[in-house]
Each structure stands twice: as C-alpha cells, then as structure tokens.
C-alpha cells in the first residue's frame, strides 16, 4: 500500500492529492479500487485526468504475469548449482546448492552445522572463485578452522589467501543488525558496485534461530512479524539476485511427544525449499565421533528420507584423516 505522493506520476499534483485525501483516498490501492466517476464528482476533478493517472499507477504498481516457457528459459540461464565441497552432500542436494533458493541445515548442538557452513564457504570461494558473505550470529566462525579446510584443499598459499579474502564475515547478534546487513547487501548488489565484493553468489547465515528465538513465544506476536520480515528479505535476495542462501536452524524438543523438531515453528518451515537434518552417529556425548549423518527432511526435487554419511573430521567435510590439533601453546 503506497501512499499517494506528488511525484508518483506526471498527472498527480499536490492539489489533487490534498483534495483526494480530504475524500479519504490516500493510497494507490484506494485510488485504483474506487469508482472514478464518483471521485471526480466529489472532488471536482477532471475524469480524463483521473483515468490517465490510474493507467500510469496500474502500470507502475501491478505485477506482470509471465509465461511458463519464458520463466523456464530465464531460470535455465540464471540458476547456477554450487557444489558444497562434499560429494555426498551434493548428492543429497541434487548436485549442489541451487541459486535462487533458501537451503536450511538443522541439527542439535555439536552436530556439525557450522562445520558444513565453513566447508561450503571454503568450497565456493576456492573452487568457484566466487565471493561469499557469512553472517555469524553465534560467534562460532573460527577463521583458523576455515584456513585448515582451505589448506587441505589447495596447495598454493597464494590461492588460500585469496580465497580467504573472498569470504566476507559480518557479526550480527541482533535481528535488526541482520536485517540491516541484508539490506546493505541488497543496496550494493542493485547498484552493481563491483568494488570490494565482486560477484556475490552465496550468503551463509549461521544461525538464524539464534537471533529470532528470543523474540518468539509469549503473547507478543511481534516476533513472528520480524521473523516473516527476515524470511521475505532472504527470499527476495535469493530470487532477485540469483544467490544461494544457506541458513542454519536449531532443534528443540517437542514438549508433548519428546521428539526433536526444528526450531522457529511451522511458519518458518515454509521458508526454505530444502531442509537437511544433521545428526551425530554416536548415541550420547560419551561416544566421541566425527561421523555425522545428513538426512533430507524437505526437498522440491529429491525424495525425503534420503540419508548420507559425512565426516566432519580434520581436513574437510568428507574425508576422515588422522587428527592433529591446529594450534598449541
């Protein structure tokens, strides 16, 4: 609902707006849906002028229908599939992360969500030489672990350093900070500023539930509104600029059944198009293992319930290798 303003279209002048407002026609929707003959009589404005203004407003503000074949052609040319750096995870996601979609990783604490995110960032930055934006809201981003992963994948130190420079990290601990960071990305991309970022193809958000969870619940519905605003921003970014958006979510325990379920509720479950659940292979914390299983909980392309095994061991999210601690005193 856009408010009628003077500069909105050529025929709309300030006096017209005042007169319309006096007759309670304040927004574009009011204008377009009202009976113009009636309005022209009450406001004593020319009927032709009103019809002209309405035509311009409709052209400006209505959505354009597109034909399925055109849409398909457009998708074929604009969608890219980004490999995650782990062949089994790629297999789960139908060959990789699709741009234009939101993919979600969920799991219990310690199940490897941050590791998979780091691996995705490393693979996109090193393998595809594309820029990655990493929004960290939990403080779990460890650059030394990322460096370890890069060192395992590429031998050349120059390449590793360049790959590190292509990953932009922003620490946002509040939902408004996250929204303003996303807005900033949108502004930069729409201005086509290729200055310091370069071609941005992936946005990784770890984790989205850490900033939204404190707002949900209780009697206030404001938390839900903010969550949906964030969802809209993410989907718009993904669709308009052909980005692959990866988010991580927590799991909570369902109070009635005692089973684990993804956090943020049913409303959020419609936002990502693909959902992957990460679980630890060991039963409890007594068994220390680096093996994890990833199962597909929601996907537009693959059958749900597919499961693969990952190893979030030392070098990579895939290959097990002997353990060596990174930094010692």
């Amino acid at each position: 609902m856009v408010v009628l303003r003077a500069g909105l279209c050529p025929g709309l002048t300030e006096e017209m707006i005042q007169v319309l407002r006096a007759n309670s026609v304040r927004t574009v929707v009011d204008f377009v849906s009202s009976d113009l003959e009636d309005v022209s009589q009450k406001c004593s404005l020319s009927y032709k002028a009103l019809v002209a203004v309405r035509r311009v407003l409709l052209a400006q503000f209505s959505a354009f229908p597109a034909n399925g074949a055109d849409l398909y052609e457009e998708l074929k040319s604009s969608t890219a599939i980004l490999p995650t750096g782990s062949p089994s995870l790629d297999q789960l996601l139908d060959s990789g992360l699709y741009t234009g979609e939101v993919t979600e990783l969920m799991g219990t604490p310690g199940s490897g969500k941050t590791q998979v995110c780091l691996s995705i960032a490393a693979s996109v930055s090193l393998g595809l030489k594309q820029h990655v934006l990493f929004l960290d809201s939990t403080g779990g981003f460890t650059a030394s672990r990322l460096y370890q992963m890069l060192r395992a994948q590429a031998e050349d130190e120059e390449e590793q350093l360049e790959a590190l420079q292509r990953i932009q990290v922003a620490r946002v601990f509040d939902v408004y900070e996250m929204l303003s960071a996303l807005q900033e990305v949108r502004d930069r991309l729409s201005q086509q500023a290729v200055s310091c970022t370069g071609p941005l193809k992936t946005v990784v958000i770890d984790s989205v539930s850490a900033v939204i969870h404190p707002l949900l619940g209780g009697r206030q519905s404001e938390g839900l509104a903010i969550m949906m605003q964030l969802a809209r921003e993410l989907k718009m970014l993904a669709k308009e600029f052909s980005l692959a958006v990866v988010v991580t979510n927590q799991v909570t325990r369902d109070s009635s059944t005692g089973l684990l379920k993804p956090a943020l509720g049913r409303s959020w479950s419609f936002v990502p198009s693909t959902r992957v659940l990460l679980e630890s292979k060991g039963a409890a914390w007594e068994e220390a293992t680096t093996r994890r299983s990833a199962s597909l909980a929601k996907s537009p392309r693959q059958p749900t319930g597919m499961q693969v095994e990952l190893d979030i061991g030392n070098s990579d999210v895939q290959e097990p290798s002997p353990a060596t601690p990174t930094e010692g005193l």
Binding site: Q115, L118, S180, A181, P214, E222
Partner: protein, 366 residues
C-alpha cells in the same frame, strides 16, 4: 534508502499504524517529515520526531556501510579474522591436556560452557581461570582482569588465594630459570594481592539479579577495559528452581546468550558459564545430559562436559568449532586445576585431592 518499514526497530504499535497508513519504505517516512507523520498516523509530534530519529540512524548506518565507511567494526574478510585470531592469546588452564584439546586454552571472544555433576570441579576451573587470565604476557598469558558472577555462593576466597599463590610461585620458578628482564619486571606487579584485587566479584541471588547484572555488564566493562574473562558460576541454578513458565525461561535464556555473545565479541573477552546436569529418562535407560534444555545447548560455542569414571575425573570436549571431540583426565590439587601426574607420583596427590567443601567420593572397589 529502500529499507522496508517492517524491518526498522520501532515499537509494534507504531509499526502497525504506519502499515495501516500505507508507508512502505523508510524513504517515504523521511520525506513526510515529523509534522506530516504526526498528522497522518495520529501520534504526537515528539513521538514522530523520535521515530524519525531512529529511522535516520538506521539509514545513515546503512549508507555509511554501503559507501565503504568504517561504520561497523564487525564486518571484515576471513583473512583479517584469521590474522586477528592468530594474534589472540588463550587463557591457559594449567592442565596441559585440557589446553591441548581446547586448541591452546579457553578462547577469547567465545562462550565456553562447562557442564558437570556436583563436585566434579567446575568452580575450581572457574577460579583457576580467574587467576590465569591475569598472567603477564611474557609468561604466556593475556594479562587481563576477571569478572566473577556467582549465583550459588561457591566462590571461596581462601581457595582462590591458594590457587593464586601457586600460580605466582610457578611464574617465579619460570623467571628464575630464564633470568630475563621483563620477567623480573612483570613479577613485581604479579603478586597475590594484585591478583585478588583484579577479580571483580558479583553475587546474584535470583534470575532477575542475574539478568540485571548482565545488562549492566557492558557499562562496567567499558570502564574496566582490561577485563578479559567473565565467569558466570552457576547459570543453571537461578533458572531451575521456582520457574513455572518454561517458555519464558527459554526466551530469557536465549536473550541472555545473545547478550553474552555481544559482550564477548565487543570487549574481546572470554565468557565461561557453568551448567548443571540433569537426567533424561529414555525408554530403556536414563542418561545424564546438561541442564536447561535443548535450545540452551546452542548458546555456547564450546562445550566441555566434566564427569567421573570410577574415581578419575575426565573432561570431554563435546562441542567446538575447531577441535575434535576428545576426552582427557584431569585432577584437582591444593594448587588448583592440574594435569593427572603419572602413576608414580599420584600417591601423594590422591589423598590431598579433595576440595574441602564437597564430601569426598567413596570408591566401591577399595
């Protein structure tokens, strides 16, 4: 300035009115001006002015970032972060096995959670860390101060004095072995009195006091900028008794976690929390799991679980962004938190192992 009105930090009633009046982007709000705004949505001029101030601040923050200005300190490339991390020190725990599995010690700018059954040594570790954070840089420490927030009343000053005395003794031995200038100079200021005077102690009796203390902590930390460690001993205790509304508890805890991570990040300090254990009753067996629920598990970046194995204390690294899961033994001596000595020497340490406050653990076999 095409920021949607719904994404601005305004109150919900104001936001609802703006949406009803048809405002969609922040630019429209700024164009209308305070008088127009107060007329349109029927609020007072002062409220309109305040709202526009907030909007202007948000949007100018955005503009500065877009223009590449040094507006935020929190955005950088991974390479810069790597350099920062490599230059950052760790807070050592005097138990080299534990330092190894943590990757060097307790990391700054991260939240570390220590869970364990009663009497296993969580408070001992906290007191050890509060002393260790003050070790001067030439001995390998971070030379910072500590904030100790106690909710259970388990901080014993005489025990902390013992630990501090042992630490000073240890550093003195190192200085004598190396005979360097800066070691001697550092030792002059590193004494028992100075260590104890740089541990800022707060006692919180219930969850409201704890929440208030954490809200006030950023101001305290900006005055005392040398603080590098914030310990909250017993974050579970005030939240576990007398709390009827569990969803409120989850919300408060999550909000608390976000506050703590902001503190850890902005002031470059480590936050250490201790948690209790609870029993999860499954179909066939029951397991000991950390308390405060599933969603609290996501709050801490690094999670250590302390447990017993017959009469040996073990520490398991359960969750860490950069280290593998592993388990090591440790022990608590009169000097504080230490490694397990090889068997020949254990005869003496076992008898003096017990923390005077907790009742000694009875062994079944002997």
């Amino acid at each position: 300035m095409q920021r949607a009105v719904g994404s601005l930090p305004l109150g919900p009633a104001l936001r609802a009115r703006l949406a009803a009046a048809g405002f969609q982007t922040a630019q429209e709000l700024l164009d209308t001006g305070p008088c127009g705004l107060s007329r349109e949505i029927g609020i007072s001029k002062e409220e309109a002015l305040e709202a526009l101030q907030v909007v202007r601040q948000e949007c100018s923050g955005d503009a500065a970032k877009t223009a590449g200005g040094a507006g935020t300190t929190r955005k950088c490339t991974a390479l810069e972060l790597l350099e920062e991390e490599q230059a950052q020190g760790f807070i050592i725990t005097f138990c080299s096995a534990l330092d190894n599995i943590l990757g060097g010690g307790v990391q700054l700018t991260k939240i570390t959670e220590v869970c364990g059954a009663p009497g296993v040594g969580k408070t001992q570790l906290c007191m050890q860390l509060a002393v260790d954070v003050q070790i001067p840089e030439c001995f390998g420490g971070v030379c910072g101060e500590a904030v100790f927030i106690d909710t259970e009343g388990s901080f014993m000053v005489d025990r902390a004095a013992d630990i501090a005395a042992a630490c000073v003794q240890h550093c003195r031995l190192i200085a004598e072995a190396h005979q360097e200038e800066d070691h001697q100079k550092a030792l002059e200021t590193f004494s028992l009195e100075s260590i104890l005077s740089h541990i800022y102690y707060f006692r919180c009796r219930d969850y409201i006091e704890l929440l208030a203390q954490v809200y006030l902590l950023p101001d305290f930390l900006s005055e005392h900028s040398k603080v590098r460690l914030v310990v909250i001993d017993g974050i579970a205790f005030p939240f576990r008794h007398d709390f009827e509304d569990l969803s409120l508890r989850t919300r408060l805890l999550n909000g608390l976690a976000q506050q703590l991570i902001i503190i850890a990040n902005d002031h470059k300090s480590a936050v250490v929390l201790t948690n209790q254990m609870t029993t999860r009753i499954g179909q066939s067996q029951s397991t000991l799991v950390p308390a405060l629920g599933e969603s609290w598990g996501h709050a801490a970046t690094v999670r250590l679980i302390f447990h017993w194995d017959k009469s040996q204390r073990l520490a398991t690294l359960y969750k860490s962004p950069s280290q593998k899961e592993s388990t090591i033994p440790y022990t608590i001596t009169p000097h504080g938190f230490r490694d397990v000595q090889p068997p020949a020497v254990t005869q003496n340490t076992e008898s003096t192992e017990m923390n005077p406050r907790k009742r000694p653990r009875r062994e079944e076999e002997k």
